[in-house]
């Protein structure tokens, strides 16, 4: 009970409309917390360095994290159904090196780009089929996907492959600038993926089915929703996002490298959780995941500004993750108590 009164006291300061909104949408709280942390980070860094929140820096934030953003959208789909996809880092490496290798062999990019995304989607399909039709736990099924994609990446090439194709490099080098603000085609791709992802999750039948499956799979099935198709599709989407991210990363770094993205799946999961998606499924927002990625990217930039070891990035991300799971835990416990 004390927590509820504390809640009431804290919300008393807000206008009544906002208060009603917050109590109705308690699942949005973690996402609001993420936005708050993002703003605090920016304000704090600006006060500390004096030249942090500049158009150049903010544009670079989107540019440097475009591939993470794309992965995070796919991961949000999977996690909201209550699953998990460990394979995204490896898929990123596989599709990236495949794309670079095919381009260097002179294959037309009009063929390479769809193929890259298809390969990612195919690995997602394998995982989805294992999960849905063979009752394999998502953790193990996507683990198989992780091994498969990583091994195949080495099969494609053991060394890094440079990309010379001007069309692909254009994705990275072309800057649409307004004053000092700029955005690259890769950034536009990432933002488009976020927008499409958010739209699909919120405004389509498929998106609502994803929430229903994550909330209670049994009920969703009894309601006659397409549970099987939805559960396979989210992994295919995550895989396709992995393929697209591999393409973007290859354009970004100008090369494909089979050791890319080791541990990236963890960064992505952390960003998605920080953005307010519950790992137990049923709750989460694509836009929240975007904020989570920006929090991650900002911490990385702050640390390089300070000239500190990049090792601190992972420590701070770990601590933030801890903070957020505790916040989520409190919210879950409170809503259970209310029932």
């Amino acid at each position: 009970m004390s927590s509820i009164t504390a809640d009431g006291r804290r919300l008393a300061g807000f206008p009544s409309a906002l208060r009603a909104f917050l109590s109705r949408r308690s699942s949005l709280m973690p996402t609001f917390a993420a936005v708050t942390i993002f703003v605090l980070l920016l304000v704090g860094a600006q006060l500390y360095f004096g030249n942090f929140v500049t158009p150049l820096n903010m544009s670079a934030l989107l540019l440097d994290n475009a591939f993470l953003l794309i992965l995070a959208v796919g991961m949000t789909f999977v996690i909201v159904t209550g699953g998990i996809d460990l394979s995204v880092g490896s898929v990123l490496a596989l599709t990236g090196i495949l794309c670079a290798k095919l381009l260097s062999a002179g294959v037309s990019p009009y063929l390479v780009v769809p193929l890259t995304i298809l390969v990612g989607a195919a690995i997602g399909l394998v995982i989805g089929v294992l999960v849905q039709f063979f009752d394999v736990q998502p953790f193990i099924a996507s683990l198989a996907g992780l091994f498969l994609a990583r091994g195949l990446a080495y099969v494609v090439s053991l060394k890094s492959v440079r990309v010379e194709h001007s069309g692909v490099l254009w994705l990275e080098t072309k800057r649409f600038a307004v004053g000092q603000w700029y955005i690259t085609p890769t950034g536009i791709i990432a933002l488009l993926v976020v927008l499409v992802g958010a739209f699909v999750m919120v405004a389509t039948r498929f998106g609502r089915t994803i929430y229903a499956v994550g909330g209670n799979e049994q009920s969703a099935r009894l309601m006659g929703l397409e549970v099987a198709r939805t559960k396979v599709l989210v992994y295919v989407i995550s895989g396709a996002c992995g393929g697209l991210a591999g393409l973007v990363l290859t354009a970004y770094s100008g090369a494909g490298y089979p050791r890319n993205g080791i541990g990236t799946e963890l960064d992505v999961i952390a960003a998605v959780v920080i953005g307010g998606t519950l790992l137990s499924g049923g709750t989460g927002y694509v836009l929240g995941s975007m904020i989570g990625v920006f929090v991650y990217g900002t911490i990385k930039t702050v640390i390089s500004f300070m000239g500190a070891e990049q090792a601190w990035t992972r420590i701070i991300i770990g601590l933030l993750l801890l903070l957020f799971i505790v916040v989520q835990r409190v919210i879950v416990v409170r809503s259970e108590r209310r029932r």
Binding site: D135, I140, A144, L158, L266, S280, A311, G318, I325, R329
Partner: protein
Amino acid sequence: MTRVTKHHLFWPVACLIALIALNTAVRPRFIKVTLREGELYGAPIDILRQSAPLMLVALGMTLVIATRGIDLSVGAVMAISGAVTLTIIDGSGSSGSLGTVLMAMAAGVGLSLLLGVWNGFLVAVAKIQPIIATLVLMLAGRGVALLITGGFITTVVSPPLKYFASGYLFWVPFAFIIAVVAIVVVALVERRTALGVLTEAVGINPEASRLAGVRSRGIIFTAYVASAGLAGVAGIIYSSNIMAADANAAGELIELYAILAVVLGGTSLLGGKFSIAGTVIGVLIIQTLQSTILFLGVPSAEAPVFFAAVVILVVLIQAPRVHRVAGSLVRRGRARETGSQVEKAKVAA
């Protein structure tokens, strides 16, 4: 015959024997073990020696998985333990003395146990999903290890430390002896006391076992502490093997291999019944497979493709749908058989 095939260790053992047979068929030298200057040599001995770190980690993982949990942080704990141990030895100025090395190892394992307490607290007391609770340490742990080593790969020259991974005791690699001791201790504690049964009870139904008076919180706590402690020892063996603390590479992907070993050994990820012998065989399968892949001339980097194939094969064998299909095929086959027998009987009559 059905009793043999129904035994929970049948498939893992069959798989291991098949692997060994395959290797021996392709290169008869594989199975040969020779005694040279009081030390055993040969491919099987190499496999046993190299399997030690994974064996320790997988043992701990078995206990954690039995409680319905998972410990993703073992690789990070290995990195931290190795980093602490080698940094202490490096800074002591007497890297050759046994006392220094033992003290440094104690510090590494001690810190690992503390990290296990941290994991146990998050899972058992704060009731956070194990996958996420241990993800925190998995993410932060490698960063901590990098800070300890200052971002470099710390190398040391220390004969006592080298003995840990490369030495022999009674003709057998010392690292393997450590693994055997760990297996025996865990097996005795779990199977000769009620702890194993209680752990399975917690894994099968946490709520019911709590109502039945099982102190599930303490049991879950212990599992994570044991897992981290064993990972700490594994980290020391790893760094003793290369005589360096590599915060990035130590225990890379080992959590996944350990989980794979546990699953190969027939322990379900859903918790409950667990098999220590199964895990031991699972580890040996993985290590033999790795050696096979190397022998076949596949670049070790491409090995994950084979592991993916193995994982998919194993989970398919265990999948209920496959069992149903196989079951109906067998039944149909039998029906046809009895049908043809009936016809034969008719013809005879």
